[in-house]
Amino acid sequence: MSAPEAPSPALREAGAGPAGLDLTPAGDAAPPVRRIARAVAFDTRTLLRNGEQLLVSLGFPVLALLVLVNAPLAALGLPTDLAGLPPIDVVAPGVLAMAVLGTSFTGQAIALGFDRRYGVLRLLATTPLGRGGFLAGRLGSVLVVEVLQVLVLGSVALALGWRPWQQGAAAVPALLLALLLGTASLVSIALLLAGTLRAEAVLAIANVLYVLLLGAGVLLPAAVLPPAIAGLVALLPSGAMGEAARAASIDGSLAVAPLLVMAAWAVVAGAAAARWVRWSD
């Protein structure tokens, strides 16, 4: 065999690899919980480092909150029973739903689409993290970012006079359940899109849908829309999330139908993703 040239002595210590690295095989995975915790931390930092994403996650929602709470809601077509309420009770849950839509759907669809394009999913599948750990980490980072969003937007809304717990003991849990089920359904759809289409198509679709869905029962009640469209919007996961969140904020009720709509989307999109997602495009 051809003897490789000796490594430069400066880099080599006696009996060890370059610069004293002990390269003796000792491959052993970190415990699963630690792997996923590391993945959550890594993905969260990556998300928060992305300025564009931060604008969608926090910048726009804060702006929407400040603008809409001072807007003449009746003039926007809000029915009189809603228009008579304190505006913040209607606007705050819509803005929270907007924040969840941006993080769990738009942000994740685009991130996963390009991770797939650039082989990140393939490479991480060969590390101890694996595909399951990767997805768990992603979902965890979405939840961490959403907790931050709820804390920031909730604080601004509180400062603007929002007091959801005064609508009853169920109000806050029902609101959080709506956001959680919304996340489950929207992340599943994001994964399905990102795992089946080309990254450029995912980028375009995710952005267009973000704008369209915002106006369809997320930011403002579906009641501002023509009745035929409002009926359709109630069947969308995003629209259902908006309606369920508002129901909790306005009178502390648990809106069962929208919650079921979101659960159904999560199950169907999740099953479709498990069936059709390809890990490289």
Binding site: A16, G27, T126
Partner: protein, 350 residues
């Protein structure tokens, strides 16, 4: 592998390596691996083994099946036929992910994160990884530690991907063109690391288009062509017995009969490719100064300049060119491929 040294391709898959069930067997055994993408046959019976403490280089023209083979070994693709055993386990065994380091050709590193953060992240997935700071120093990653992956040059990205492949202290590393695009200084540090891995008992399996790299590093060479192993062995075994040969370039299609008449019968002159001529000893023959003079006189008589005239043993590049049919371009769908099935066939990535 030495018994299979420099076998000429026969079209049939090479004989499978002997079955080894003990833990001391090869780190990697690939046996009759076949994989096609739609109508494109990427591998049709690839067999070889890679030992711990050795560098195994998988060579071949683009489309020969190198990346496909590596991806099947890494558990990223399932072969259509044949078996792969990695550290005596199925390549999809989850336990292997901590023991096999993989560097893919398309990188696969998260683009939005700083380089050193990516390496730290991969290290944190292992129980006892290498010291990230030292490894980053060895590969020069500390010079671009805070640069996000998507802003790295190709060579910087390669070094980061290599670091990620080895940071978990693997038994086997699979490296698809580890030094492609890496500058000279970087290449030296990559080679040092690969040599260090080999000396530490790691099985190193790499693909490369750099004959210099293969000649410097490889203990065993596996040459793929047309989806099969065309030859395998050490570099010396592949480049022959060390006998000198004479090669030169000249206009294509020269009539060699007068030259053959002038040369001793123990050497043979042929035009191996249009415009490339070779005089090779047979039996007891030898390329001596007299042979050289005969060739140059023959050229002079025809006012032909023998360009690039060289006497020496054939290079690894010669062997690769020869065994891959002199064709370094992507092969069209191989002859073994079935007739096209319409336009719905999935586009392959050979």
């Amino acid at each position: 592998m030495s018994s299979a040294a420099a076998t000429v391709p026969t079209g049939a898959p090479s004989p499978p390596p002997p079955p080894r069930d003990d833990a001391d067997g090869p780190a990697l055994v690939v046996d009759a691996l076949a994989k096609r993408y739609g109508d494109v046959v990427a591998a049709r019976g690839v067999s070889f083994a890679a030992d711990a403490g050795a560098v195994t280089a998988v060579l071949g023209p683009n489309g020969a099946g190198k990346t496909t083979t590596l991806e099947c070994v890494a558990g990223l693709r399932r072969p259509d036929a044949g078996t792969v055993r990695v550290l005596n386990l199925d390549p999809h065994d989850a336990g292997l992910r901590a023991r096999v380091g993989v560097m893919l050709q398309d990188g696969g590193l998260p683009g939005g994160a700083p380089s050193l953060a990516v390496l730290r992240h991969v290290a944190s997935l292992h129980r006892q990884p290498l010291d990230v700071g030292v490894l980053a120093g060895v590969l020069g990653i500390d010079a671009f530690a805070r640069t996000t992956v998507r802003r790295l040059s190709g060579g910087q990205r390669q070094r980061l991907a290599l670091a990620c492949a080895v940071v978990g202290r693997p038994d086997l590393v699979l490296l698809d063109e580890p030094s492609a695009g890496v500058d000279l200084a970087g290449r030296r540090s990559v080679w040092d690391l690969l040599t260090g891995l080999r000396d530490a008992g790691v099985a190193v399996v790499l693909t490369s288009h750099s004959m210099e790299e293969v000649e410097a590093l490889a203990d065993t060479v596996v040459l793929l062509a047309g989806g099969v192993v065309a030859a395998s062995g050490t570099v010396d075994e592949l480049t022959g017995d060390g006998q000198d040969r004479l090669t030169f370039g000249a206009p294509a299609g020269l009539d060699l009969r007068p030259l053959r008449g002038a040369l001793p019968t123990t050497v043979v002159a042929t035009e191996v490719r249009p415009g490339s001529y070779e005089v090779v000893p047979r039996g007891v023959g030898v390329i001596d100064p007299q042979v050289l003079a005969t060739v140059t006189s023959w050229c002079a008589a025809r006012t032909v300049m023998p360009r690039g005239l060289r006497v020496g043993s054939r290079s690894l590049a010669d062997v690769v060119l020869e065994l891959s049919g002199g064709d370094l371009h992507e092969p069209t769908a191989a002859a073994a491929a079935p007739p096209p099935r319409g336009r719905r066939g999935r586009r392959g990535r050979p």
